[in-house]
Symmetry: C2
Subunit: 508 residues, 2 copies
């Protein structure tokens, strides 16, 4: 039997304090994550099929190193010693985020992380063919194992805290958010949304929209998207736009890699998708530069991240004044069409449709999709229901929330999303929290910038970006979310803004 | 003072033998190098300018890890124990290559590696502006330090061996090659090349070529290049073609990343460049699959690598039968032109010109550029001449070899290459060794495949690729270079083939 050549990754003892040594350590981790991010982006945007196996091994190798470094006992000791050092307020915040990263990395035994990851990637892989085959039986058999291991992880993460198991999963994506709050927000939305949808549908009946007529060549759409990205301030010296099957915003804050996909039938999904991802991208590009590499420099939460993409895509890009600004770009890249008349474009962009598919939903029906998932995944992780209960609850919820019959339609029902099969429980609420925060930011902005709509109509967007940059982007994770929201908008998350936004836009 | 959180990258003791444990270790190193390769390619092909600083740090971090892993004392102990284990012939060869990797990684103290790397990147960075400014004074001041540190490295590498310092640097690129051999080969070439150049120039005077008339749009050149790559067998399921300022073949064997650059004035440089890089690419794509990740699976040497790119670019792609095959591709992508007549294309592709610049040189004058550099860098590293002697020797050599006056023209003289400033001493000979090997492979192929030219003219290229695949590509580093050459062609490197090739093509 041969011994493994164990390595001690030693580094000169340059640091003066435990806090500084911990910073140096996290910056090293961040450098490895930089390569993960770029190689991961490449895997989606560039990699030929036969590169996948070697790439997966390479990414798993560095994933293991990152885990090793993030859970090193000596790091734990450093963080303990740092807590006793005299730190200023900013350093305290930075240490708080390191402690959070440490807890999340160490709370779950590595064997469990690996077992959960394996089960999830098996389930997700099979789901790719099970979904088109509408094979709930096959999918649920794998999902049972995924859920079992997610429950175990949730228990491990919640041990010694006051969190419920589901809250412990949610907390990784939305630190500080609790189910009591979400229940209140989503309960409120559930109260008025079905009627709002009915009213909005009735109102739009009297305002039919002219459909755009394709095909819209990919090259023209790409040129249009790039120009729209410039219009909303993306820094091309620190990022780029490519294509991938599933659009995302990846890379690193210094080099943001956005992707989109094009359908030649309709240019609006790619255009709005690009504007959406630019919201994510600008948040990343404007995180606090001097702190990059430290946990405190990261975006505050997934809900906050989504609040930026939705600020761009929903609050800004569907503003009639902005749509007017888009018109010359459309003429330049796609030519003239009746559908490009600004008022018609606004109708197209604010069209409400009850549909089965979350990712295709408009901003009015979207929360219904999220609430449905939250109401299923929370009791599922907490052990109050089982995988076999999902279809029935799904059918019932879709009937109540959207009046749609999904019985037997697993493909476009509870099997439509990649999240559950790949173990992403606790993520769904962030989408609607993001929409609510975005509405809140724009409500506060209207107070701080009284001529907001006029500025948008004149293409003067810098005040908006300056507002977001100063209050959100450059703050990273310096403040807990409630404090960030208070400093930015004067109050913690208040769902009234989201309702007012929808009522003004869809019933006004 | 805070301790550094040292990490022990432990791995279960799964291996039965020291040899297997060493294999596992090298495969881990290879996975990190995979990410280095992809992130390095991305840096050249995709990265926006502001991504560079973070990328450089990330690459340096993983470089440090790779160095740590490649020099781990426990690895040295494993290799020692493996040498006493009962290994078969293939495992012996694999161990030999691990030992070589170990020696190269450990012979030079890490501080010296870092100092040399720092001096080189400073010198190279300054060179980018000093070269256009013809600033020999500024450049040579930096180069003195680079040379000093390269001499130190060469001494460390040669300590305890029979190698001269220069040979120790050369050996990293061309294992087993010695100066006595190169002196013999290059001395031979020096004897007949100047006259051959004169004769070739005289002969082509009577056969003027029609110039192609541009512009040739980039998109058309790219489509042409992709089709030419398919024609010469590039596997697009395991690689791709992109653009970069300096063409190269990077990535990993499972996912080869070739780049090229386009000039709209002339399509031939990009087309021939793509065919050249495809030679490198196919070597990588056909290295022994089951051994990938181990040193023995790597390409044998830089000279051997160049022998593949030159087999494609010079031996194959300039064969009149191949040029005939290219013609329909040119018509399809670039339209009809008098210059595309096959006989004229052959003239364009075999035109000899005495020029200052190595990278623009044809295959006849190219060796003169290499010999000149070898005759300077060898005594420079061995301490027989100094940096200040370079310009004089350069002027003298260019006069003798190519009859060109380079006095005072540093920019297009001894400052033209990136190699010396960035510390790449010992690399230049590989270019001409590659050209000699390529001629030898095709001479042996003609013996083994008697209808070679007929097959090429009919587009039946698989016999050629099969010959290279079986004898060279899939052999990786299993054999020392002389043995590889003997098995492939029946003899070790024999410069007579290169001379015969040039005489047949340029004087025949």
């Amino acid at each position: 039997m041969a011994d493994w050549p164990g390595l001690s990754i030693g580094v000169p003892r340059l640091s003066n304090t435990a806090y500084e040594a911990a910073c140096t350590h996290y910056r090293r981790i961040d450098r490895l994550q930089h390569l993960q991010a770029i190689a991961g982006w490449d895997q989606m945007a560039n990699m030929p099929p036969n590169g996948n196996e070697a790439r997966s091994h390479a990414l798993a190798e560095v994933e293991g190193l990152v885990h090793e470094m993030g859970t090193a006992p000596a790091l734990g000791a450093l963080l303990q010693r740092a807590a006793a050092e005299p730190l200023d307020e900013a350093q305290r915040a930075s240490l708080r985020e390191m402690q959070r990263a440490w807890r999340n990395a160490t709370a779950v035994p590595q064997e469990l992380v690996e077992a959960a990851s394996l089960a999830a990637s098996r389930c997700e892989h099979a789901w790719r063919s099970q979904r088109p085959a509408n094979d709930w039986q096959g999918f649920s058999a794998n999902l049972v194992e995924v859920v079992r291991l997610q429950r175990e992880q949730a228990r491990a993460l919640s041990a010694g805290t006051e969190l419920s198991p589901y809250e412990a999963l949610l907390d990784r994506f939305e630190p500080g958010m609790r189910c009591a709050q979400i229940d209140r927000y989503f309960g409120d939305i559930r109260g008025w949304l079905p009627q709002l949808i009915r009213d909005a549908l009735r109102r739009q009946e009297s305002r039919p929209a002219v459909e755009p007529v394709g095909p819209f060549p990919k090259a023209a759409q790409r040129a249009l998207g790039l120009e729209a990205m410039r219009m909303v301030g993306f820094d091309f010296e620190g990022g780029r736009l490519d294509e991938s099957a599933h659009p995302f915003c990846g890379g690193v804050p210094q080099d943001v890699r956005m992707t989109t996909r094009y359908s030649e039938d309709n240019f609006l999904p790619a255009l709005m998708g690009v504007i959406h991802e630019t919201g994510h991208g600008r948040y990343e590009q404007n995180l606090p530069r001097e702190l990059l590499g430290l946990p405190v420099a990261q975006a505050r939460s997934m809900g906050l991240h989504e609040s930026q993409s939705l600020s761009f895509e929903m609050q800004l890009a569907r503003n009639p004044g902005f749509v007017q600004q888009l018109r010359p770009l459309l003429l330049k890249h796609l030519g003239e069409q009746a559908a490009f008349e600004p008022e018609n474009l606004v109708r197209l962009l604010t069209r409400v449709r009850r549909g089965y598919i979350r990712v295709d939903a408009d901003e009015v029906t979207y929360p219904a999709h999220v609430i449905l998932r939250y109401e299923i995944e929370r009791p599922l992780i907490n052990g109050e229901i089982e995988v076999s209960d999902i279809p029935g609850l799904w059918d019932q919820g879709m009937q109540e929330l959207l009046g749609l019959d999904t019985r037997g339609n697993f493909r476009n029902g509870c099997m439509q999303d990649v999240h559950w099969g790949s173990g992403g429980f606790g993520y769904f609420p962030c989408y609607t929290l993001g929409a609510m925060y975005a509405a809140q930011w724009f409500a506060a902005m209207r107070r701080d910038l009284p001529d907001l709509d006029g500025q948008i109509a004149r293409g003067e967007l810098e005040p908006i970006f300056g507002w977001l940059r100063e209050r959100i982007w450059t703050q990273g994770s310096r403040w807990e979310t409630d404090e960030l929201a208070r400093r930015a908008s004067g109050e913690t998350l208040n769902p009234a803004h989201f309702r007012r936004h929808l009522e003004a836009r869809y019933l006004g």
